[in-house]
């Protein structure tokens, strides 16, 4: 057997081009699965570990103001293990060298510094001195984005005047792994930061001595979250609670959970399909490679080897190729998994991003590909050993060809004999042509799936910020103000237009379904905040009734004409049944809208405004921000361009990595298919091509016959692949719709063109390599092989 093993190694060395491309296809399939599943697993592990270590609370509630003496009652609620009372306020910040005013969420620290629940992870510096009221810990993302380090100072607008705060440390919190402010469509570390300050400092600044306005609760094991929430609401509603909620509605956790869920969805859909494609290609290509060794197999049998020995020989052959691919794929997959996991640091502020790869993932990926290879080897070898050696040693009888149906169809007289050879070879072996087409076609969706994210994000931004949310900045007031504030804002330097809005937290209920969200009252004449229908046409605000985003409608099971119960979560807590006037199309968030006058009637208030959308002159932005910082009762200003820019910066690198990986995989697949198809065709038909050369055909003419077949197959594959790409994108989008986002199934023609170009380039590259081999056909020895 030693000699046979030498043959094995030499065969592998001789076919190195094919061996390499096949192993690469396997590697890509394995790598995709390993990378995606390990990223999902690592994210989940990192999240869970952090939540556990930091005692992330289970239930949260915000309220207006309640006496601290309520603590024993809260702790006595059955099922509550621990209660943490806090003071939480949002304030406009003034950061050196930053013109647009960011929002700081100020959270009180207990006297001991470290809270019992939602424990902080100190990254840098030290804890604030409980006696020094002007010391603060800063959240890491904000500190980095605004260039603040321990030792730096900033100012916070507290009760109408700016107070100086000294940064003494940088920290992370499980509550702000994903740092986003409710109402903002995008996270933005430059515009939103967390400041932890000593309890007494915050109590003094906001007149909250002996009081609190925020609760975090840890549940006892086995406790019912629902009952605890009910009990909390009962105790806290009189104090202006907006209603207690569980982790599922905690904003940061909801985003993190969403992202992990998306990663799980991605990991369990695309890579398995990808692996299946790789296994399929492996199976067919290896089968053809072995079938092409027909004469060698016969010779081995003639020498006295039995079928088992021959089979073992070829099993070794395919196993070596496949194992090389699996090993390479596992390494590549782990590397990519680490890269993708590390990329999440851009979004998720976790103290430690762990990486884990589970053995079963490797075993699954390896098992599937190895099984495909073994099956290919066995069926191909069986096909040959069934023949008597003498028969197998003779070249196969000329294939029976027929006039192709295409010729009969339109009697292609204009087709040259060469053209007919091409046509009959394709039609005469339909399964082979189909396989090649399928393989090439599959490369297209893979590339498009990578490219499409950028298109979708561009589209979302264009729709959300170009058509719906058209203001440049959003000003929120500390409490509802009357219409005069809007007129005053209009006089601020650089403000082109102002539109006041009334936003109120509500719980919407239809039957047994309910959802907590914001109800936004808009002016029917407004231009800065528009509502669109499914065709992106503006919808006029109805004088009566409420408009729901289509996903909110779906969530509540409500359609136009149904009745929805609105429970206002502030002020007098009005509850009223209101008809659903229609659905609006929005890609981000799940909100409800009303005509502001109808909303005011519902709330029984005058011309109150809680926020205002501003259109600004970009050239005077610095001046505008400086004046807004001084504006009374403005709690926060969020500036769209800044949020957009930082969002694009972080996603772009993320999407680029993802797209790059998928495109590289698609090219490997396309090369693997085209190159191997051409090489096998060349091996089978070298004799025919050499005959043509002897008859006087030039290298170019001969190459054209072989490569024209491939060209036709590529041309047939491209429309199929593009259609497939479109279907894949639609399916993916369907599966990825989350509460926060609905990714639109938008693929720009440019992306289709790029994907096609990548595949054509891969095919051309393979064709060039094969052309080189045709040019070096040794006519004499090729013709001699039959002697």
């Amino acid at each position: 057997m030693r000699t046979l093993d030498k043959k094995l190694l030499r065969d592998l060395a001789r076919m190195k081009g094919q061996v390499l491309t096949i192993a690469l296809v396997v590697a890509c399939g394995v790598a995709a699965l390993v990378a995606a599943l390990s990223t999902y697993d690592s994210l989940r592990l990192s999240q869970q570990t952090y939540y556990e270590q930091s005692h992330f609370a289970d239930v949260f509630a915000s309220l207006k103001r309640a006496p601290a003496a309520l603590q024993p009652k809260l702790a006595a609620i059955p099922g509550v293990a621990e209660v943490e009372l806090r003071i939480v306020f949002d304030a406009t910040l003034d950061v050196p060298r930053v013109s647009a005013p960011p929002v700081g969420r100020m959270i009180s620290l207990p006297p001991g510094g470290q809270p019992q629940l939602n424990r902080l992870h100190l990254r840098l510096g030290r804890w604030p001195d409980p006696d020094k009221l002007d010391e603060a810990l800063l959240s890491e993302g904000f500190a980095q984005a605004s260039g603040l380090a321990p030792g730096a100072s900033l100012r916070a607008l507290i009760n109408g005047k700016y107070e100086v705060l000294h940064v003494v440390g940088i920290a992370l919190s499980p509550e702000y792994v994903y740092s986003i402010r409710s109402g903002d469509p995008l996270p933005d570390d430059r515009q939103f930061g967390i400041l932890w300050v000593a309890h007494d400092a915050l109590a003094a600044a906001f007149n909250m001595e002996g009081a609190f306005n925020d609760v975090a609760v840890r549940l006892a094991p086995g406790a019912s979250q629902e009952r605890v929430i009910q009990a909390l609401d009962q105790l806290l509603l009189p104090y202006g609670s907006l209603g207690a909620y569980g982790r599922a509605e905690q904003l940061s956790n909801r985003f993190v959970q969403d992202e992990i869920e998306q990663q799980r969805m991605m990991a369990t859909t695309i890579p398995p399909v990808f692996l299946a494609v790789a296994a399929f290609l492996l199976n067919v290509v290896l089968g053809r490679v072995i079938a092409a060794q027909r004469e060698q197999i016969a010779a081995l049998k003639a020498l006295g080897l039995d079928n088992r020995e021959v089979a073992v020989h070829y099993l070794k052959f395919v196993s070596l190729i496949t194992l090389a691919g699996i090993a390479g794929g596992a390494m590549l997959g782990i590397w990519l998994g680490k890269l993708m996991t590390a990329n999440y640091v851009l979004f998720f502020r976790l103290p430690l991003m762990q990486f884990r790869i589970q053995l079963w993932v490797l075993a699954l990926a390896g098992g599937v590909t190895l099984a495909a290879a073994v099956l290919a080897a066995l069926s191909a070898v069986r096909g040959v050993v069934r023949l008597a050696p003498a028969e197998a040693m003779r070249p196969p009888a000329p294939r029976a060809y027929k006039r192709s149906f295409i010729e009969r169809l339109w009697a292609a007289h204009w087709l040259s004999p060469q053209g007919r050879m091409v046509a009959r070879n394709i039609v005469g072996r339909p399964f082979r042509a189909l396989f090649t087409c399928a393989g090439i076609a599959l490369a297209l969706p893979i590339t498009v799936l990578g490219l499409f994210w950028m298109d979708a994000i561009d589209y979302m931004i264009a729709v959300q910020f170009g058509l719906i949310d058209r203001g440049d900045a959003l000003v929120s007031f500390t409490e509802p103000v009357d219409g005069r504030a809007v007129r005053e804002l209009a006089r601020v330097a650089g403000v082109r237009a102002v539109e006041g809005m009334r936003a109120v937290p509500v719980r919407l209920r239809v039957g047994h379904r309910d959802y907590r969200t914001g109800l936004l009252g808009l002016s029917p004449e407004g231009e800065l905040r528009r509502l669109l229908d499914a065709n992106l046409e503006p919808i006029p605000l109805p004088a009566q009734g409420v408009l729901l985003t289509d996903r909110l409608g779906e969530r509540l099971g409500a359609r136009a004409g149904d009745s929805v119960r609105i429970e206002v979560l502030e002020g007098e807590r009005v509850q009223r049944e209101v008809p659903v006037a229609g659905l609006v199309n929005e890609l981000v968030g799940m909100s409800a809208y009303m005509d502001v006058r109808a909303l005011r009637r519902l709330l029984r208030e005058g011309d109150a405004v809680s926020a205002a959308a501003l259109s600004l002159e970009p050239s005077r932005a610095d001046e505008t921000y400086a004046q807004l910082k001084q504006f009374p009762k403005v709690s926060t200003v969020s500036v769209k361009t800044i949020a957009l820019q930082s969002f694009l910066d972080t996603t772009a690198s993320f999407v680029l990595v993802f797209t790059g990986i998928l495109t590289a995989f698609a090219i490997v697949i396309a090369v693997g298919i085209v190159y191997n198809s051409a090489r096998i065709a060349l091996a089978e038909r070298a004799w025919e091509l050499a005959s043509l050369r002897v008859l006087g055909f030039t290298r170019g003419e001969v190459s054209r016959i072989l490569l024209a077949e491939l060209a036709v197959e590529v041309l047939l594959a491209i429309p199929v692949g593009l259609w497939l790409a479109h279907q894949c994108v639609e399916t993916l989008v369907e599966m990825h719709a989350t509460e926060m986002f609905r990714i639109p199934a938008v693929v720009e023609p440019r992306s289709y063109a790029l994907a096609t170009l990548a595949v054509v380039a891969a095919a051309a590259l393979s064709a060039a390599v094969v052309r080189h081999r045709i040019d070096h056909l040794d006519l004499v020895s090729v013709l001699k092989t039959r002697e």
Binding site: K402, R420, L695, G696, F697, R699, V780
Partner: protein
């Protein structure tokens, strides 16, 4: 006897097999006249195929000179050799080398499209007695029929010479004779120079001249006083 069409002087071909040099032709001098029917006889490894390949522009010699009329076959590059084969040479091989995906007629048309003044494909096929099988594919033909298609394909472009490498090697006795008859007819009616390689000495009876090769050298040359017709041959 017509003018000399092929002439070789000190023609040598050495194959390099790894580190060993294997001489295939050792300094051959040879002239072939227009319209002549030459049979090259010799055992395996005698160099007859190498000689035929050089003559047909499939291979180039290591040293010496070889001319087809004014064409220098030694200095010609790849594209000149391709043009030479295209314009002057018709090949017939032991295993026919037909294109399986083309019909009988199309196999011939394939070649006539390359030539300046070709025969009509049907005419060439009539000449080899296959006028009734024009639309068949190679897989539907017997070996002898396939070989006759190969001959029709070779002569359809009206080559000046027809080179046949063991044309009856894969055929039975009766079919072989039929094929030889076609070759003789091409030589006779079209005045095509014919060179046939065989190790079947009986076929030599058909030739004007029989050249025996052994060990890369011309061992003997004999001129047949009377050429036999194929049906007079028996083996």
């Amino acid at each position: 006897m017509g003018p000399v069409v092929f002439s070789a002087r000190a023609l040598t071909k050495t194959y390099r097999m790894g580190e060993v040099e294997v001489p295939a032709l050792r300094s051959i001098d040879l002239e072939i006249w227009q319209g002549e029917f030459v049979v090259l006889l010799g055992p395996s490894g005698s160099g007859k195929s190498t000689l035929l390949n050089i003559l047909g522009g499939l291979d180039t010699p290591t040293s010496g000179t070889a001319f087809w009329r004014e064409h220098n076959l030694v200095t010609a590059d790849e594209s000149e050799l391709t043009r030479y084969r295209r314009e002057h040479v018709g090949f017939v091989f032991q295993f026919y080398n037909l294109i399986p995906s083309l019909t009988v007629r199309e196999n011939v048309v394939l070649v006539t499209e390359l030539a300046d003044d070709p025969m009509d494909a049907d005419e060439a096929l009539t000449l080899v007695g296959l006028a009734n099988r024009l639309d068949h594919f190679p897989s539907q033909l017997s070996g002898g029929e396939q070989q006759r298609v190969a001959i029709a394909r070779a002569i359809a472009k009206r080559p000046e010479c027809l080179l046949c490498d063991e044309p009856t090697g894969a055929l039975d006795y009766a079919t072989g004779k039929l094929v030889l008859e076609v070759i003789a007819r091409v030589n006779r009616e079209l005045a095509t120079t014919v060179v046939v390689i065989t190790h079947n000495a009986v076929i030599a009876g058909m030739a004007d001249r029989v050249i025996r090769l052994a060990d890369g050298r011309i061992a003997s040359t004999e001129v047949n006083a009377k050429r036999l017709s194929p049906d007079e041959l028996a083996w």
